[in-house]
């Protein structure tokens, strides 16, 4: 047996049977209305490309992108009904823009540029294609893949393909590997051709035995590929933890995995890159797994981005009445869905449906008994009970010293806590406070800099004037006879000095305005 990689912390989960989830259900009918949510703060930089009552084709870009955000494509052909502000379901403070598209059920595509031999193209042009077709990391972070690839050129030596699904109820990646492995293979080769890596590691968890043997057969005579088996534990899917368990190194704080020579891609991103480069398709599908407690099965669906969840559940004949609770995300990282009109977005992984039970047992919150279960379980060596104390008592300094910003909100510490404390709730709140403090400190710094600049400017102006005055007095006293000769010249120079002073004032004011813009 091969070596199994492991990481400290984490919990073992009970397995569920995986008979029904090998297959992807390809066909979900198109709803009449698609809702697409664009983040507002990115939209300020990238303008909208469409107007209300404009016809769009399937795959047409709706926005211009910029360096940090990629264009977003229309999932269907039809009419744009409305563009409006809207707040996301979870975070009410974050303003989004919502684009409503009425589909005409004709499925007219734009012309797709197919590439048969990608090796004829330079890496830069391939990256441009990937950027224009709107591919982001589908693991949940939504980091632009094109940017990652640009950064990685001539810097990385290993490509890590992340096929780990720590959550026991998500099987989307598993079914993707099962059905489309050849395409993923091509995707890996494309990425390795772009960023010239020496090794490709496919990371997979130990319980998928069938799949592992299948991949091992396929990669037997290929030197580049290697398979790594990770222990079945929650959480294994985060890139930080994968790198730590594979290599023993940690990503330095504030840096990216690329900086230590590793490029990490989620398996569905690799698949999307292949579709984009070879078939020319923009990213408008994604695979979502749905776990239904009632029928006790988890299924995977290929769904268009923008399909309202309401419609999707109706199609599956799942009644969303008060007896059920619908969550986004898996068993651990779930968020309660409050708005059923919310649509499927690029960073969504799975939908969880739970039966709502009237609680017979009351969950009593005891106080923390310092048992240390949470410390042993935390995958990144934090001290949750200390953080809980600090954040409860508003002790921001010590909370920052105990590295609260590193917490990945995996919620295991909350699950194992015998006192049923909602630890992550406190951490989220504390993180918000920390961010506020950070912004405040930054603002103070900038204003202080501005103040100093202003002082300097005024001082230099005074000095200039003082110097000039002295200079003239000096001249007039000593070289009085030459003064008459130079009178015309002096007048000119006097004017020049004044000009210089004015220029300097202007320059400093421009500097000030620029700095102010930076703050805002």
């Amino acid at each position: 047996m091969k070596k199994k990689y492991n990481f400290s912390g984490g919990v073992k989960c009970l397995p569920i049977n995986q008979d029904t989830n090998k297959y992807i259900i390809n066909y979900v009918p198109y709803p009449t209305k698609f809702f697409i949510y664009v983040k507002y703060n990115t939209l300020k930089k990238n303008m909208l490309r469409v107007k209300i009552n404009q016809k769009v084709l399937c795959g047409e870009p709706l926005t211009f992108g910029d360096s940090s955000s990629v264009p977003i494509h229309s999932p269907t052909s039809g009419l744009i009904e409305n563009v409006e502000f809207y707040s996301k379901h979870v975070d009410l403070n974050q303003e989004n823009i919502k684009i409503t598209i009425i589909s005409d059920h004709l499925e007219q595509w734009i012309r797709l540029k197919k590439i048969n031999n990608y090796k004829l193209y330079s890496p830069k042009s391939l990256i441009k294609i990937i950027y224009q077709l709107g591919i982001v990391g589908l693991g949940g972070a939504q980091f632009s893949s094109a940017k990652k690839l640009i950064l990685s050129i001539n810097k990385v030596h290993t490509l890590i393909i992340n096929a780990v699904e720590s959550d026991p109820y998500i099987t989307a990646d598993y079914s993707l590997m099962h059905n489309y492995f050849n395409e993923i293979f091509i995707g890996c080769e494309i990425i390795s051709w772009i960023s010239k890596v020496e090794k490709i590691l496919i990371v997979i968890q130990e319980d998928k035995i069938e799949l592992i043997s299948k991949i091992q057969l396929l990669i037997e005579n290929k030197k580049l590929f290697k398979i790594c088996i990770l222990k079945k534990k929650y959480p294994g899917g985060s890139s930080k933890i994968i790198i730590k368990s594979l290599t023993g190194k940690e990503i330095p704080n504030g840096k990216h995995a690329i900086d230590i020579g590793y490029l990490i891609f989620n398996i569905s991103t690799v698949y999307a890159i292949k579709r984009a480069v070879i078939n020319g398709e923009p990213l408008i599908h994604r695979i979502i797994s749905l776990y239904d407690y009632q029928n006790n099965l988890s299924k995977n669906f290929l769904i268009r981005i923008g399909t309202p969840i309401n419609f999707f559940l109706n199609y599956l004949k799942i009644d969303n009445n008060l007896n059920y609770k619908i969550y986004l995300g898996g068993m651990f990282m779930k968020d309660l869905l409050t708005n059923l009109n919310y649509s499927i977005s690029k960073d969504m992984n799975s939908i969880l449906i739970k039966k709502y039970k009237k609680k017979n047992k009351k969950l009593i919150n005891y106080s923390c008994i310092n048992c240390g279960y949470c410390v042993q379980v935390c995958p990144i060596n934090l001290l949750p009970q200390k953080l809980y104390l600090y954040s409860k008592n508003n002790n921001h300094k010590d909370a920052k010293k105990s590295y609260i910003m590193d917490c990945i909100e995996c919620r295991i510490c909350e699950k194992v806590c015998p006192s049923n404390i909602n630890l992550v709730k406190y951490f989220k709140n504390e993180k918000k406070q920390q961010n506020k403090i950070k912004i405040e400190i930054n603002q103070k710094k900038i204003f202080f800099d501005l103040f100093q600049l202003r002082e300097k400017r005024i001082l230099s102006q005074k000095e200039n004037i003082y110097k000039n005055k002295n200079y003239f007095n000096h001249l007039s006293l000593i070289e009085s006879n030459i003064l008459e000769k130079l009178s015309t010249k002096k007048l000119i120079s006097n004017k020049e000095i004044e000009k210089n002073i004015r220029k300097e004032i202007l320059r400093s004011s421009i500097k000030r305005v620029k700095l102010k813009n930076k703050i805002l």
Binding site: K12, N253, G372, Y403, S419
Partner: protein, 343 residues
């Protein structure tokens, strides 16, 4: 609660398992020392619950939730197991008061206390009533004292004559809570060579064997707790290892060896300390290395107190001293988070 994770307990369940694990020890103590032990434990539970209700009323907390966490019952069971069987009811009240009110609720309730509540109660009783805490019942020569329910009730509530309880101050008499004190006396005076009293010899054997059996039953309970993963193996094993190691050194290198290290392991309160008292989660360090340090410090202190001080069994004081060091240990063992090491 959550079906997808193994070994997920609530506070209530943890405390309940501790009570279950101490049942064999209760039975062996009953077998050797009579029903008086059961009555003492019951009295402790009743008084500590009463004190808890009163103080919760004063602090205006939810009485039902706070009592249901079983922690005060655990404290009183452990306290009842560690005291000798000569205490009367008003001493029990004092012990319960100090363990519940002073050491727990004055520090801020469950989870905030620095010192182990049971050991605070024990230490207070030991300091204030040293004679009672170190004297032994005279009628305990026969092993089968299960029938003396009436006499034991009489002893606790209606103590009539002092001579019934306290043994005359002959130095050769065996009058201590644990056989350890006898060893101490021997090492100082060498009495056992000059005076040989048959009855005291007989009693010595019974009590020696009783303490062996009690320690073994605590060991069984401790293994049950380890199997259920309620306590971590680090504290008991580091404690036992350091204690055993030091006594082996003492045994091998001292001029006139007195007791074997195995005798030290199975006498007095060694096992109850290792598995039940030192592993109290509230007052111990949370990190793995900190637990090992804490355990070995307690082991060292127990060794020192037993061998070089005037107290026969140093469990209570060494645990309390270890508790004092815990915040210091925790402060110096902060973990590094993620990705901060290299900078």
């Amino acid at each position: 609660m959550n079906l997808s994770i193994y070994n997920n307990y609530t506070v209530k369940e943890i405390m309940f398992f501790v009570i279950i694990a101490s049942i064999p020890a209760i039975f062996t103590e009953c077998y050797f020392f009579g029903f008086i032990i059961l009555i003492q434990i019951l009295l402790f539970i009743i008084f500590s619950l009463i004190f808890e209700i009163i103080i919760l009323k004063i602090r205006q907390k939810n009485i039902k939730n706070n009592i249901l966490d079983n922690s005060s019952i655990v404290t009183s069971v452990l306290l009842g197991l560690s005291i000798p069987c000569t205490l009367t009811w008003w001493m029990i009240i004092i012990g319960a008061f100090f363990s519940i009110v002073v050491s727990k609720h004055l520090y801020g309730g469950l989870g905030q206390n620095i010192f182990n509540p049971a050991m605070i109660g024990y230490a207070v009783l030991l300091i204030s009533f040293p004679l009672y805490m170190s004297s032994w019942n005279k009628e305990n020569t026969n092993l089968f004292s299960l029938n003396d329910l009436k006499t034991s009730i009489n002893k606790i509530f209606f103590k009539t004559s002092k001579s019934d309880f306290l043994i005359s101050s002959d130095p050769e008499d065996f009058t201590e809570a644990t056989p350890l004190n006898d060893l101490k006396n021997k090492s100082y005076y060498n009495y056992d060579i000059s005076l040989k009293n048959l009855t005291s010899q007989n009693k010595k054997i019974t009590v020696f064997s009783a303490y062996n059996y009690i320690n073994i039953s605590f060991l069984l309970g401790g293994f049950f707790l380890l199997y259920k993963k309620i306590i971590c193996w680090r504290i008991p094993f580091s404690f036992l290892f350091s204690f055993f190691f030091l006594s082996v050194i003492n045994f091998l290198f001292s001029i006139n060896p007195i007791v074997s290290p195995f005798f030290h392991l199975f006498s007095g309160g060694t096992m109850i300390c290792a598995f039940f008292i030192a592993t109290d989660p509230v007052t111990t360090s949370y990190s793995n290395i900190g637990k090992i340090i804490f355990g070995s410090i307690v082991g060292l202190l127990v060794y020192i107190i037993r061998n070089y001080s005037d107290y026969p069994d140093g469990v209570a004081f060494s645990v309390l001293f270890g508790n004092m060091l815990v915040p210091l240990i925790d402060n110096f063992l902060k973990t590094s988070g993620y990705g901060h090491r290299d900078i």
